[in-house]
């Protein structure tokens, strides 16, 4: 029997690069086929070809053995292909039901009016199919990320999808929400839907996947049943070399206290106490809404302190703005680098120097030569690709964009650096490089805090881990004594 979906010998060229080079991929109904590879390996290009957003230069697409043509997202929909993008395509001001049936609204008989009763009925039916109970009258903008994702899946499902491509669906979900998503995926599988699953989180791939195809530089390097591979061999296939360790070893010597927070209260933060020493890497973990990002923003002056003390090197500080905080030597690498970190229309050089223009200033004028030279050094040191300081950041991949933000904060010579989800959506190789830089900074005496939802990452990188729950720190434990179970217990505050 022919597979549900088959892509044969797909080639797609961009000026100067071959994004996909003779790639073949097949998917059966009721199967999860994972697609993995580093940033720029060609995964997104493949999804775009499947969705009709891009055309292949060569190759054949077929469903049930019949050749198909996909020229637009509408074509893809008609063929039963659904795509769940990393950034959802929902209308936040409309209700859940309106979003699920957007463009397919049921009408009252022989009229132009929407039959809202039937609409909510249909929406509820689709959600029930996923085993979800969401109020269909709620505004989508008021749902969390996880809820929005369910709506997105329900929307695809309401259009009778047979093939569902999911691009990094868990990037901003908590562990609990991921478990829920996996339940939904299992249900879809049992209904015969074929799922193409793209993720950087390898543990998920092993959790949920039946088959895996590894892309590297636009070519398929391996395509097999997942049980034939272990994590280590999968990584080396992706990276194209043996990676000794996922986390670089660090030799850190504990130094003096750099940061002390006493009884800090702010919006959504209650009585925060913590200490940070030079030469340590403090991880901050907690479920979404636990207050991790809020803590980072308050320390950075982006949100106001209500009461309590922040001491930097023993001196009390009260940063009223990020500008203040930077002058105190604090830096924050925000989560969501595209929305909060980078100025996308600006080039690499301008983004790097944005927080630290002062050394290049003569009066009000920027010394362009010096700025360029410094940017060039950063680009080389962090191996940002392309190695062009004048490239627009919009053209860079996720990992390289993160390196640009990192270069910006390295250039400010901060004493205290806070990393908020530094490796979301970044491939294994780039992650390793970022961990290495974090280690180097810690060894050089910079105070480091790392906020992450990726527990193995925190256990691999940090020396101590502070667990937050509902705006409080519920425990601080040395990483060597920490286990995922113990952290989850503190994060859900299950002792109480």
């Amino acid at each position: 029997m022919a597979p549900l979906l088959e892509l044969q010998n797909i080639t797609r060229r961009y000026p100067g690069v071959v994004a996909l080079d003779d790639v073949s991929f097949s998917l059966n109904g009721g199967e999860v086929h994972c697609l993995v590879g580093e940033n720029g390996a060609g995964k997104s290009t493949l999804v775009k070809i499947l969705s009709g957003a891009l055309a292949a230069d060569e190759g054949i697409l077929s469903i049930d053995g019949r050749q198909i043509e996909v020229h637009s997202p509408a074509d893809a929909q008609a063929l039963g292909i659904g795509i769940i993008h990393q950034d959802f395509k929902l209308v936040p001001e409309l209700s859940v039901a309106q979003n699920i049936l957007l463009g397919h609204e049921p009408l009252k008989r022989r009229s132009l009016f929407i039959d809202y009763g039937q609409m909510h009925e249909k929406a509820r039916g689709t959600l029930r199919q996923l085993g979800e109970e969401i109020d269909t009258t709620a505004k989508v903008g008021h749902l969390g990320i996880a809820g929005q994702q369910i709506v997105e899946i329900a929307r695809a499902l309401s259009r009778n999808v047979r093939i569902l491509a999911m691009d990094e669906p868990t990037a901003s979900l908590t562990k609990h929400e991921i478990a829920n998503l996996f339940r939904v995926i299992h249900r879809l599988k049992s209904e015969g839907v074929g799922i193409m699953y793209i993720s950087h989180r390898l543990e998920e791939v092993f959790d949920i996947g039946d088959k895996v195809t590894v892309l590297r530089d636009g070519k398929v390097v391996q395509s097999c049943v997942l049980t034939e591979l272990d994590r280590r061999s999968l990584i080396s296939l992706m990276v194209g070399r043996e990676l000794e360790d996922e986390y670089p070893a660090a030799t850190l010597v504990l130094g003096t206290e750099i940061l002390r927070v006493e009884h800090l209260v702010a919006e959504r933060l209650t009585d925060i106490n913590l200490q940070l020493f030079r030469g340590e890497i403090l991880g901050i973990v907690g479920l979404v809404g636990a207050g991790r990002t809020e803590l980072a923003r308050v320390l950075f002056g982006a949100d106001p302190v209500i009461s309590g003390k922040i001491l930097l090197d023993g001196k009390p500080i009260a940063p009223k703005s990020p500008h203040d905080a930077i002058n105190h030597g604090i830096g924050l690498l925000t989560e969501d680098r595209n929305r909060l970190g980078l100025v996308l229309p600006m080039n690499v050089r301008e983004n790097i120097s944005l927080a630290g223009l002062d050394p290049f200033l003569t009066g009000p004028f920027i010394n362009r030569k010096a700025e360029e030279a410094a940017a060039q050094r950063s680009v080389e040191e962090l191996q940002i690709k392309p190695q062009a300081t004048e490239a627009e950041v919009e053209t860079l991949s996720g990992g390289n964009r993160q390196k640009v933000v990192l270069a910006r904060w390295l250039s400010t010579k901060a004493r205290l650096l806070i990393f908020d989800e530094p490796t979301v959506g970044i491939d294994v190789g780039a992650k390793y490089e970022i961990y290495t830089i974090i280690n180097r900074l810690a060894a050089a005496g910079v105070g480091i805090m790392v906020i992450s939802s990726d527990l193995p990452e925190l256990l691999g990188v940090c020396t101590r881990i502070a667990v937050m729950c509902r705006g409080r720190i519920t425990g601080i434990i040395p990483a060597k004594d920490a286990t995922q179970e113990r952290i989850m217990a503190l994060a859900t505050d299950s002792d109480q």
Binding site: L332, P345, M346, N347, L354, L357, F365, A391, R408
Partner: protein, 313 residues
């Protein structure tokens, strides 16, 4: 290095409009023998100078993703304040300073409304547009201010080495604006705030301050134009500068600056302003009636923006 330079946002953006401008000039020089004379070109630059000077200020505002609709009314009100002070025989520098202060104060007020009270620039400056126009009529009781010292008329009508003073002022404003936007910290921050305001704030830029400053720059340049215009008309007119905001915004947009902020340049605005001015001049030389001119100018604005969209694909 040369290849990476070409990647930068500015060069190609101005290339398209530049070519269009040159093509326009070549076409007109064939259609009218009078077009390419020094006298005509200086005349075009003089006529363009009033709105072009404001367009330089507007470029700062639009680069931050804002808009300033109050400039046309400010032209009138600043002109009236300046001429009224001259009428009571205070010295010219005092009068000019007072006029410029009106522009600066209006801009500062708009900036504070936009940043502190979080009102959209469109609404704030729409209100100011009505307020200043109304104020101009209230102040003058609807009558122009006449009987000004002869020296004041020199600002608008005088020439230095054959070049009209307003043209000279325009060249200075554009040179300084270009240097500020491309070479200074302030200019960099203007692009950063327009490109991503929150990211700019989190990079330590005092974005509120930058925003107030761009409205002050725009207000002052509008006032400067108002003073030059009053001098050319030798009077303070309450209906001076009517609808100028539209000509000014058209020049900026035709020049390739994005209304969403973060992208654009002062050179683009200059070419945009000149393109429109030359078009008007050419249509006059070809004896095209003023009603038809409006249609043609509108169509050209649309065409320029369409070409720009197409180029960005």
């Amino acid at each position: 290095m040369t290849t990476t330079r070409i990647l930068s946002r500015k060069a190609p953006a101005e290339l398209g409009i530049g070519i269009a401008f040159v093509a326009e000039c070549i076409l007109l020089s064939h259609l009218s023998p009078y077009f390419l004379t020094t006298e005509n070109l200086l005349n075009v630059s003089l006529q363009a100078s009033i709105t072009a000077i404001i367009a330089a200020g507007m470029t700062f505002v639009i680069l931050t993703g804002g808009i300033d609709l109050s400039v046309g009314s400010l032209v009138a009100f600043a002109g009236i304040i300046t001429t009224d002070i001259l009428r009571i025989h205070l010295p010219l520098p005092v009068a000019i300073l007072a006029g410029l202060s009106v522009g600066a104060a209006s801009g500062a007020f708009a900036g504070v409304c936009v940043t502190r009270f979080n009102i959209t620039p469109f609404i704030v400056t729409l209100a100011l547009m009505t307020i200043w126009r109304g104020a101009a009529f209230v102040y003058t009781e609807g009558r122009p201010i006449w009987e000004l010292p002869e020296s004041f008329g020199l600002l608008g009508a005088g020439r230095v080495l054959e070049v009209p003073i307003p043209t000279l002022m325009m060249v200075i404003v554009y040179t300084v604006s270009h240097i500020v936007l491309t070479r200074t910290k302030f200019g960099r921050y203007v692009y950063a705030v327009g490109g991503n305001r929150e990211a700019a704030r989190l990079a330590g830029i005092r974005t509120d301050r930058v925003l107030v400053q761009v409205y002050v720059v725009c207000g002052m340049l509008a006032a400067m134009s108002g003073i030059l215009l009053a001098s050319r008309m030798n009077s303070g007119q309450p209906n001076a500068g009517l609808m100028y905001e539209l000509d000014v915004i058209a020049a900026v947009v035709v020049g390739g600056t994005s209304l969403f902020g973060g992208r654009g340049s002062i050179i683009g605005t200059f070419i945009g302003a000149m393109l429109i001015a030359v078009l008007r001049n050419g249509l006059n030389l070809l004896n095209v009636g003023s009603y038809v001119q409006q249609v043609v100018v509108g169509a050209v604005i649309l065409l320029a923006v369409l070409m720009d969209q197409w180029r960005r694909r």
